[in-house]
């Protein structure tokens, strides 16, 4: 008990010294192990004594350790929030589709422009190449007999070799054939497709 009292006495003595700005390293060590509420109460009375001697207004506010606890709680809450944020940053984030636009927007503008131009150039090249392959008749295809079947021509068979003599007519037949096939396919999937088909088959074919 006596040892406890001595310890308590040391703490109060250290607090008094700290209040006067005369605390030593040993005082600081004592005070670090003390209850902050108890220290606050003691310091308040030291302040009141000082104010009385200075003829200042006095009041016992009773701060005790409310300010200390409030500050500590707030700091710990902020630290906890920061820790959870940094933990979240270590995960690979899932990006919702709606957020992808924002993610893309974060890329540099020159990268976006370059990739757009590259895609556009590739598409253009493929379209031109494909068009050339489809529309240019090669030597083999000239020997192929194209079946041009339509209600209008009624199983008429036209040789491309013969048609070669009159090229515009051949092209016209090929176009008609293409349009008819397209319209037939469309009519199989959608009812509305019948309308363009009806139009196509009603086109007059130049003989």
């Amino acid at each position: 008990m006596a040892a406890l009292n001595d310890h308590s006495l040391d703490k109060c003595s250290s607090l008094s010294a700290m209040f006067d700005g005369e605390a030593t390293q040993k005082d600081v060590e004592y005070l670090l192990n003390a209850d902050s509420g108890e220290l606050s109460r003691q310091l308040e009375s030291f302040h009141l004594i000082q104010q009385t001697l200075h003829k200042d207004s006095k009041v016992a506010v009773g701060l005790e350790d409310s300010l200390v606890l409030g500050i500590r709680a707030k700091i710990e809450a902020e630290d906890l929030a920061n820790e959870s944020v940094s933990a979240d940053n270590n995960l690979i984030p899932f990006v919702f589709p709606s957020e992808k636009a924002n993610v893309k927007a974060s890329r540099p503008a020159w990268k976006i422009m370059f990739s757009s131009v590259a895609v556009a150039a590739s598409v253009t090249f493929l379209v031109i190449l494909g068009g050339n392959v489809v529309l240019t008749p090669d030597a083999a295809s000239l020997n192929v007999i194209a079946d041009v079947q339509s209600p209008a021509t009624n199983n008429a068979v036209i040789s491309l070799a013969e048609l070669k003599k009159d090229r515009p007519q051949v092209d016209n037949v090929r176009l008609q054939n293409y349009l008819r096939q397209h319209a037939e396919q469309a009519s199989m999937t959608v009812g509305q497709g019948m309308i363009p088909m009806a139009r196509v088959v009603s086109y007059p074919v130049k003989e």
């Binding site: 003595s13 008094s16 010294a17 600081v28 670090l32 302040h47 104010q51 016992a60």
Partner: protein
């Protein structure tokens, strides 16, 4: 280095190493001074406490950059004044034209300008407390009263008081502490009643 600067610096270093109790001790030590300082800017006690809390939290967050080029309290004082001014600006209230002088700030009453002490009951408690403290100081043995008044009135260091009183510094320290302890015992019932 002054003892106060030395002990504060030791506490600051502990905080920088992650010791939160060391920061608690700095709060305990300076909370009354900081609230008294902020009381010069805002009159409402709860506002003053909020600003004090924010000031200490700012200080804690920035303490890693404190290099001890000035005294800790000087640094804390600037944070508290800026926080109080920012608070007033955010509330569209004008801060005082001139700042509280750091040298004069010590003599200000901690709570003299805070509104909730102006109630008649609070005034009565304050008067009773003053009377009680004065009575307790009168009743102190001569060497304790001298040591306390030399410290509180004249602001002398322990070393200077030891030269005046012709005794070791340890004795001065002990006398001042014993004087405070005796006064505290005397006013303790009043403080409990005031809470």
């Amino acid at each position: 280095m002054q003892p106060e600067t030395s002990s504060d610096q030791a506490l600051v270093e502990k905080v920088q190493q992650g010791d939160k109790r060391a920061f608690d001790l700095l709060v305990v030590k300076y909370q009354y001074k900081v609230i008294g300082l902020i009381g010069r800017y805002v009159q409402d006690r709860s506002e003053a406490l909020d600003i004090a809390q924010e000031s200490f939290i700012k200080a804690y967050r920035a303490i890693g950059s404190f290099r001890g080029e000035s005294a800790f309290y000087t640094w804390l004082y600037r944070i508290a004044v800026n926080t109080a001014k920012n608070y007033l600006v955010s509330r569209s209230r004008r801060p005082p034209e001139s700042d509280v002088e750091l040298d004069n700030e010590d003599v200000f009453s901690v709570y003299e300008s805070l509104t909730d002490i102006a109630t008649p009951e609070a005034k009565l408690n304050s008067d009773r407390l003053e009377e009680s403290i004065n009575q307790a100081i009168k009743n102190l043995p001569e060497e304790l009263r001298s040591a306390l008044t030399l410290r509180e009135f004249d602001g002398l260091s322990y070393e200077d008081i030891s030269l005046i009183m012709d005794c070791p510094v340890g004795t001065v320290r002990s006398r001042i502490f014993r004087a405070r302890e005796a006064v505290e015992k005397h006013i303790h019932p009043l403080m409990d009643a005031g809470e």
